[in-house]
């Protein structure tokens, strides 16, 4: 059978960034579809769903992560956000780039060919999530029932809000004007089910409001690309002549489920209201702030830490109820005349254990010099994390501590040491590939890593001493004459940097019996220096 010429362009696969499915241009048949196999809409009272769909989301998110001057400088030039795939596919571009003909779906090379001045930004999923959360927090103004549809969509349940704000048009106007102020331009659609409102929003150039009785008629006209199903399924549907959602709804359910899976059939059912839909509502991040005014002035940090510790129990209760942990606590000590002494308690890993925090606080406060008596203080936490669930062993609960317990203990120890000895006092030492002994190791800021990579040293490397002197010590060569140095090992490297070394290393034994590692510095007229001790 000869295939008919198709009345549309082949669709590009839906972008993970949620690029608008513009490429698929569908000619909707003007004849009204035969009415019989369409399921009758079961009207569910109570819900009005409003969906927001944001265009060019990767670009907006990438820009939102930049600082204001950077953004202003970038926005005027051609700009595109590229994916991390092999082609570096353009996910979104600004208008300046679009004028050169750059479109989403082009490869980076194609974009450069169109305009060599195009500035490329990498896609950052974290900033997309962050921006969507920000938008969701903003939507808390209109309704408490906001649910996220990553990467770039939101659904709001607005039945109550319609009454509050005085009509559907008022709500839509309010949302549009609010987002316009923030430089965002969402596509808005409203309908009686969340799923269908999302589909409609993806194609809505102007806000669309669909009455429940017109729902099926309206979504039937949508091209199947709004479903954002995997490319292979979409292509398969197009091959058997399904171009619109209406075509899909008219197919026999059993066969359709076999071809595209029950999951997708259920999605269709939810969209037309045949099945109820459960959506998770977005909860704004928790904040904690506890200002305390003192009845009397406190001059000593000892008493102060006792009082703050008592107050930390409130935070403990707050955290325990919500199963949250904190990794930073800000304590502000207020003095007269609006002066404030900030105390930051930073933790290496999130904890909900205020007993541990109290210990840190005591160490930290002991180092604080109070400039004036304290009249009030406040405890605040800006960021909280879900407490990790620790699985205990069923048997042998008293046996050796688990990995997690061990890492946790190390993190606590590190915090305790740092709070008294200073942030930079505890370092972790590690090897580095360099033949110069003083550069063959590096001191990192200590942290609790889970695994340490096994270093492999050159087999031929001679024994190195346990101790390295921080500053090599000069030794008079007369002393060495009797000592009969053993060696040499030549180290000559680093001509490319500032630490060029030409040295001959020897092992010598001192009269007292200590075994030292000395070198002759050929760059400094053969001076002898002690560099290490074989401990």
């Amino acid at each position: 059978m000869k295939s008919l010429p198709l009345p549309f362009e082949l669709p590009i696969p839906p972008e993970p960034g949620g690029a608008r499915p513009r490429a698929l241009r569908v000619v909707v048949p003007s004849t009204t579809p035969s009415p019989s196999p369409l399921p009758s809409p079961r009207r569910r009272r109570g819900s009005i769903w409003l969906a927001l769909h944001f265009r060019d989301w990767p670009l907006r998110a990438a820009l939102s992560a930049l600082s204001e001057p950077e953004r202003a400088a970038l926005e005027v030039q051609p700009l595109a956000v590229v994916d991390a795939d092999r082609r570096s596919t353009v996910l979104a571009c600004n208008e300046a780039a679009a004028e050169f003909g750059i479109r989403a779906g082009h490869s980076m090379n194609a974009a450069i060919a169109l305009s060599a001045d195009t500035h490329f930004l990498p896609r950052t999923s974290a900033s997309e999530v962050e921006l969507l959360r920000k938008v969701a927090e903003l939507c808390g103004r209109y309704t408490s029932a906001v649910s996220l549809q990553p990467p770039n969509e939101l659904t709001l349940e607005v039945r109550g809000s319609v009454r509050l704000f005085g009509g559907i048009a008022a709500v839509v106007d309010l949302i549009q004007s609010d987002f316009k102020q923030r430089g965002l331009d969402p596509q808005i659609a409203m309908s009686s089910t969340a799923q269908s409102s999302l589909w409609l929003a993806r194609m809505a150039d102007t806000p669309r409001v669909i009455q429940p009785r017109e729902l099926i008629q309206n979504i039937s006209r949508l091209p199947i690309s709004v479903l954002l199903w995997p490319a292979d399924i979409e292509l398969r549907l197009i091959r058997f002549g399904v171009l619109t959602v209406g075509d899909l709804l008219r197919l026999p359910r059993g066969g359709l489920a076999r071809r595209i899976g029950y999951e997708r059939l259920a999605e269709l059912d939810r969209a037309i209201g045949r099945h109820p839909e459960v959506r998770h509502y977005f909860a704004a991040a928790e904040m904690y702030s506890d200002p305390v005014a003192l009845d009397f002035e406190i001059e000593t940090t000892g008493l102060l830490s006792t009082i703050i510790e008592k107050r930390l129990r409130r935070l403990q209760t707050f955290l325990t109820r919500r199963n949250l942990s904190v990794d930073a606590i800000r304590i502000q000590l207020r003095h007269r005349e609006q002066r404030v002494t900030p105390v930051m308690l930073g933790l290496a890993s999130p904890t909900a254990d205020m007993h541990h925090v109290s210990q840190l606080l005591r160490e930290q406060l002991a180092r604080v010099q109070l400039p004036a008596p304290v009249i009030a203080f406040s405890i605040s936490v800006e960021r909280m994390h879900p407490t990790p669930e620790i699985t205990h062993e069923l048997f042998n609960s008293s046996a050796a501590p688990t990995r997690l317990a061990r890492t946790d203990a190390q993190a606590r120890l590190l915090e305790q040491l740092r709070s008294r000895l200073g942030e930079a006092a505890v370092r972790s030492i590690d090897t580095r590939a360099d033949y110069r002994p003083e550069l063959a190791q590096r001191a990192l800021s200590a942290d609790v890593q889970s695994e340490k990579t096994r270093e492999s040293l050159p087999k031929s490397l001679a024994s190195r001493p346990f101790w390295l002197l921080c500053e090599p010590r000069d030794i008079p060569s007369t002393k060495l004459r009797k000592a009969r140095p053993v060696g040499p090992e030549r180290v000559e490297t680093g001509w490319w940097d500032d630490h060029f070394a030409v040295r001959d290393y020897y092992r010598i034994s001192s009269p007292q019996g200590a075994l030292g590692w000395v070198y002759r510095d050929h760059l400094q007229s053969g001076r002898w220096r002690l560099h290490g001790l074989f401990g």
């Binding site: 990995r403 120890l413 505890v426 972790s428 019996g513 401990g535």
Partner: protein, 211 residues
């Protein structure tokens, strides 16, 4: 002459350890014999030395290797206030490469002892090494208590001038050099007599002309 062993309630000190409490091999046969099987488990070890570079780390190296292998990953050794910079390459060469090393240098004696006690109590390290010139008996007692309750080895390096002072440490060793060998004076080992011994700490190899 009266044989003291005939008197009731008098017994030899060696038999105190007859309960055969667990020991950890030291890696040196002579030292194992002097300590009655090895290091006690766990123990606060006191190592007295004025001179560095005589093998003062080699003595405890087999212990550190054994401890870091046994603990649930990731093993960790704390170095508190060492006199010089520990060399990461040498640590790898001596089999401590798979282990994290935390280093805090230039601490006061007071801070060192505080940090050591914290590290022992935290139950986070495989072993804690500390160098403290001045230590009072009260903090030593606290260290011993922390070692006993948490079961972590604490190794404290002190100058030899304190050899005459009493100490609650489980084991006290005084080190000095004896040609290319290490002379160890066991000042205190619970349930054992003080003794003198000489250990070969693998130094002749380093001074061999052929290598």
């Amino acid at each position: 002459m009266i044989d003291p062993l005939q008197i009731p309630h008098v017994w030899r000190a060696q038999s105190l350890r007859s309960q055969a409490s667990a020991t950890e091999p030291t890696g040196f046969d002579a030292l194992d014999a002097a300590l009655g099987g090895g290091w006690p488990v766990p123990a606060l070890l006191e190592v007295l030395t004025d001179l560095y570079g005589i093998g003062e780390l080699q003595v405890i190296l087999p212990l550190l290797r054994a401890l870091t292998k046994r603990t649930p990953a990731p093993p960790l050794i704390a170095w508190l206030n060492p006199p010089h910079q520990p060399n990461a390459v040498a640590l790898v060469q001596h089999g401590l490469g798979g282990c994290h090393h935390w280093l805090a240098m230039n601490l006061s004696s007071q801070d060192t002892l505080w940090a050591m006690e914290r590290a022992l109590k935290a139950d986070a390290c495989s072993a804690v090494l500390a160098w403290a010139p001045t230590v009072d008996t009260a903090s030593l007692r606290r260290l011993r208590l922390a070692v006993s309750t948490k079961g972590v080895y604490g190794i404290l390096y002190r100058p030899t001038s304190v050899a005459v002072q009493a100490s609650p440490a489980h084991v006290r060793l005084q080190l000095s050099s004896h040609s290319s060998l290490l002379q160890v004076k066991v000042l205190k080992a619970q349930g054992r007599k003080p003794s003198d011994l000489v250990l070969d700490v693998d130094r002749a190899r380093l001074l061999d002309m052929r290598r």
